[in-house]
């Protein structure tokens, strides 16, 4: 879906569409309800990490510049080249200028997509630093909140920490679709189950063809269980991990959860999901799209299978050449649209807490490894920049706001007051670890302590920063 110039009518239509989408998910199927049983905490927390792969151009979306103020005439002094006039939109008629969002007045880039319709819940963090120009290092920095050793990730993923805290009861506490996941110091159950796409997820959840009878399966299980209980095996951490994983895989298959992700199935529920997310009814490629991953995330969360889901909603953003003019915007926008669909699907009643929706308890985090340079290169593309931005919405996130700012010269990271969210020369440059620390703080992993980690407060993941409290409602 391309973003056309927003009007009151289109906003109304979008709201209606959102309502229709929501109603499709409002009536949970019996399968969904069964899977969700037991999830009865008064303030549950769920997380969806959305990765935009390849380094995004935030001038087109999260951190635009007014082309009247930043133009070729003052390029030498601003070192910022929005390049909106270079975008190839001849065939699509897409807008090429930033605009003010309809509800909260956020200044957004032309390819923010349908996420603009949820601006009242959207919080953008600008002026961040990734402290690297290497894709792997930036990605792993955001996933773990720690600077990698070379390219080697250090520490467990933020998703793993959150799953460790929240997900002991869930069948797959930490699901990762096309996103790396790390666990070096958390319990085995929190290890991310990483699949490459939705068909692989279905295959993982479905019992494979077998000619072994049920009784023989039980005998096999007994043999392997006893082997794991031998003295020598009990002293082997590897063996115990392997046995725990085997038992989990058996439980996972027995739950027959694959039906929840059979998006090309013939049931009414699957048909509604297809319509809402825009997934084709046939063809394997349709299940490898950002839309299918977004639908999988919603299913995993609302069915009570997972507490934390990581998905990749955009690929191919590494536009160093003139594909920037044609690809960068649309790829980003497709990702933002998938996130918007997810928001709408989660904005449905939460079963056990009246007046609340799934979105009230689900925090969505959108990130990329870093952003693209503020100046075009000689190939009409953009190279890598240390600067970054990210967005969050849902859960306890204070929506309708922008935190921090990139500088008006070369879009460099700038310091932000972590409490007010305003630019502040006495503040800190926000980095990925601030975001993860905030999520951990909100999830109660810091035990409610509001003493900054830098001043001796709790810091279980050793992130060494204070939470960005301006992100949160309370």
């Amino acid at each position: 879906m391309t973003r056309l110039k927003p009007t009151r009518r289109s906003a109304l239509l979008a709201a209606l569409a959102a309502g229709a989408g929501a109603s499709s998910f409002g009536g949970l199927s019996p399968l969904t309800r069964i899977a969700h049983a037991g999830n009865d905490a008064s303030e549950p927390r769920y997380f969806v990490f959305c990765y935009f792969s390849g380094a995004w151009d935030i001038l087109l979306s999260l951190d635009p510049r007014n082309p009247v103020e930043f133009h070729d005439g003052n390029l030498g002094s601003t070192l910022i080249q929005p390049g909106y006039d270079l975008l190839d939109t001849e065939d699509t008629g897409h807008i090429t200028q930033p605009f003010i969002s309809p509800n909260s007045g956020l200044y957004l880039g032309p390819y923010i997509g349908d996420l603009a319709n949820h601006d009242h819940r959207l919080c953008i963090v600008r002026g961040m630093s990734s402290e690297t120009l290497t894709h792997e290092a930036g990605r792993r920095r955001f996933l773990t909140g720690k600077s990698p050793s070379g390219l080697q990730a250090r520490g467990s993923s933020g998703a793993t920490w959150l799953a460790s805290l929240l997900g002991a009861e869930e069948l797959i506490p930490n699901l990762a679709v096309q996103v790396e996941t790390y666990n070096v110091d958390q319990p085995t159950y929190a290890t991310g189950m990483k699949v490459n796409d939705v068909p692989d997820l279905m295959q993982a959840l479905e019992a494979g063809p077998s000619t072994v009878s049920l009784a023989e399966e039980q005998q096999l299980d007994e043999l392997l269980r006893r082997s794991a209980n031998c003295d020598s095996s009990e002293r082997s951490p590897f063996w115990q991990t392997a046995e725990a994983a085997r038992l989990n895989s058996v439980s996972m298959v027995e739950a027959e959860l694959h039906e929840l992700f059979d998006f090309q199935g013939s049931s009414d529920e699957m048909s509604a999901i297809r319509d809402h997310f825009g997934i084709a009814a046939s063809g394997n490629n349709a299940l490898q799209t950002p839309e299918a991953q977004a639908a999988a995330a919603v299913q995993a969360i609302t069915a009570g299978i997972s507490r934390v889901v990581s998905i990749r909603v955009a690929n191919g953003l590494d536009t160093h050449f003139d594909e920037w003019t044609t690809d960068q915007g649309p790829i980003q926008e497709r990702g933002f649209n998938a996130v918007a669909k997810m928001v709408e699907a989660l904005d449905t009643p939460y079963p056990s807490i009246p007046g609340k929706t799934w979105l009230d308890f689900t925090t969505i985090i959108g990130f990329s490894e870093f952003c693209r340079s503020s100046m075009m290169n000689v190939n009409t593309g953009r190279d890598h920049s240390l600067t970054n931005a990210c967005f969050l919405l849902g859960g306890n996130v204070q929506g309708g706001q922008v935190i921090g700012a990139s500088s008006d010269i070369a879009m460099s990271p700038t310091k932000t007051n972590l409490t007010t969210g305003q630019s502040d020369s006495n503040g800190e440059i926000v980095k990925p670890e601030h975001i993860l620390q905030t999520l951990m703080y909100d999830a109660g992993l810091l035990d409610g302590g509001d003493i900054p980690a830098t001043e001796g407060g709790l810091d279980p993941a050793d992130l060494r920063v204070a939470p960005l409290l301006a992100l949160l409602q309370s």
Binding site: S53, E136, L151, Q152, I172, E180, T191, M193, K194, V195, N196, D197, D200, Q203, A204, G208, P209, S210, T211, V212, S213, A215, E216, Q219, L220, L223, L224, R226, S227, S232, S233, R235, S236, P237, F238, W239, T241, A242, E243, A245, R246, N248, S249, M252, V253
Partner: protein, 223 residues
Amino acid sequence: MKSCARLLTLLSGILLASGCNSIPEPPQVQLPPPVVDQLDPSAESNLYPDPPAINDGIRNRRRMDLDQLEASIATATGGIYWGMSEGDRKFSELAQTLGKPDYLDVTTEDLSPSMLFQKFLGDAARDICHQLIVRELDTPSEDRIFLVEASESDTSATDSQAIESNLRYLLARFHSQPLESGSDLLAPWIWLFDSSVHVTDDPASAWRTVCVGLITHPNFYSY
């Protein structure tokens, strides 16, 4: 000029030698040993790292990577691979999900015995062992690689020696675990075979179950 240079070299050598000899010995300062009780008690320092996980006498095991696993299965089964009957190489299809590096995004292989690995290993074992037993039954006994010491009709009731011999052969073939006759380590495998015969009344089916057990056992996929 030449003699001047030689003289300079000689003088600098003498100076160096005499300088080395004339440096006084540094005073010997007795430092306290670096132990915890001599540090500031409020600092809660710990100079001793946590001991490694208890693994007495057990070498830390390591999981085979995907290529090693596929090669091992093919070697042990005489060339059978997962998905062979449908013409697919399933391990290749699932390579990224199973953590094999693509050297674009991922450059190191995930070798954890994860839930996904266990699930797909189980699927692979069931498919491969079905193919293996079907092939064995169609193969003359002298050319077999699985039912070598026992026939498809032998049971512990009819020829316990043949069953034990075949299990010893299989444990050596699949787990590199040569066992003496009567070893205690054979007991679980004899139990599995006998139990399976008991519920299926089909020794060939029981050997298939044993095959699945051999492949899904950590002694096969880790080293």
